[in-house]
Symmetry: C2
Subunit: 152 residues, 2 copies
C-alpha cells in the first residue's frame, strides 16, 4: 500500500499517451465508460447487454480494473441492496473529452446515419455542432447529467 | 473488394465510439500513431525501438491494419529503396485531437514531470496551455509539422 502511494506521487514515468492507454485504453473499458456517459447505464446487467456482446469474465475484469484505477466507484443500489451500481468519479468524468474527440472522428469517417446524434441518453441531438462551438459547455453539461442521474 | 466498398458507403452501423475503437483503439495502434505525431518516427525500426517494447509480429500486424484502414500510407523511402516509410493520411492526422485529449487527461492524473511537455518532436513546450487556448491552431500546427517532415 505504501509502495503504491509513493509510486502515485512520483508518477508512472510513462509518456502521457501510454499512461492513458494503460488505465482505460482497451476496447471494453472504453465501451463501459461510453455506456455510462452516453447511454445512462450503471449496473452490471445493463453493461452485459450492450450490443458489442462482452463476456461476463471480461466485463467483471474491466469493471474491477476501472474501480482499482479510480475511474469508477462501485456502491450498493439503495433501492435493491443485492445490486451494485457503478458511477464515474471526477477522474472518469474527465474522460468525456476523449470520448467526444473519438465521436468527432467517427462522425467524419464512418457513415452511420446516427453518428454523433441521438447517442446521448436524454441529451440534445446537436452534440457535435455544440462541441465545436463550446466544448467546455458540452463537457460540463454531460458531467452534470451524469451527476444528476446518480442523485435521482 | 466490392463488398467492402459497399459496406464503407453504408457505414459500419456501429456507434461512433465502437467504430473508432475498431479502427485504432488498441494500445499498439495508438502508440504507433503517437510515435509519428509526437516523436517524428516514420519507419519500422524506429517503431520497434519505442520504450514500450512492441514485438515484431504485433508491430507488423498493427502497421498492416492501420494501412488497410487508411490511417497510414506505406511507401518506399526515396533515399533507401530497401526501406519503407509510414505516413499519416488526413484520416490519421485527424486523430491528433484524440491524442491531445488523452494527453490532457494524463497530465491531470499522472505526475510524470514531463507530462504534456517536451513530448513533441521539434514543437513548442507549452502544448497543453496552447491546446486550451486555441485547440484548432495547435492541431493545425502539429499536422503541418508532420506534413513538412514528410516532404523533407
Amino acid at each position: 500500500m505504501k509502495k503504491s502511494r509513493k509510486k502515485s506521487r512520483k508518477g508512472s514515468g510513462k509518456c502521457p499517451i501510454h499512461f492513458a492507454l494503460e488505465v482505460f485504453g482497451d476496447k471494453w473499458s472504453l465501451l463501459i465508460i461510453r455506456d455510462i456517459v452516453f447511454k445512462g447505464k450503471s449496473c452490471y446487467g445493463e453493461f452485459l447487454h450492450s450490443p458489442e456482446g462482452v463476456s461476463t469474465n471480461i466485463l467483471a475484469n474491466r469493471l474491477a480494473k476501472l474501480e482499482a484505477n479510480e475511474i469508477l466507484t462501485k456502491t450498493r443500489d439503495p433501492e435493491n441492496l443485492a445490486k451494485f451500481q457503478y458511477d464515474l468519479t471526477q477522474k472518469g468524468l474527465d474522460l468525456i473529452p476523449v470520448l467526444l474527440a473519438m465521436t468527432e472522428w467517427s462522425a467524419k469517417y464512418d457513415f452511420h446515419p446516427n453518428n454523433g446524434r441521438n447517442i446521448i441518453h436524454g441529451a440534445p441531438e446537436d452534440l457535435l455542432e455544440r462541441n465545436k462551438l463550446d466544448h467546455d459547455a458540452i463537457v460540463a453539461e454531460l458531467s452534470e447529467n451524469i451527476r444528476a442521474r446518480k442523485e435521482n
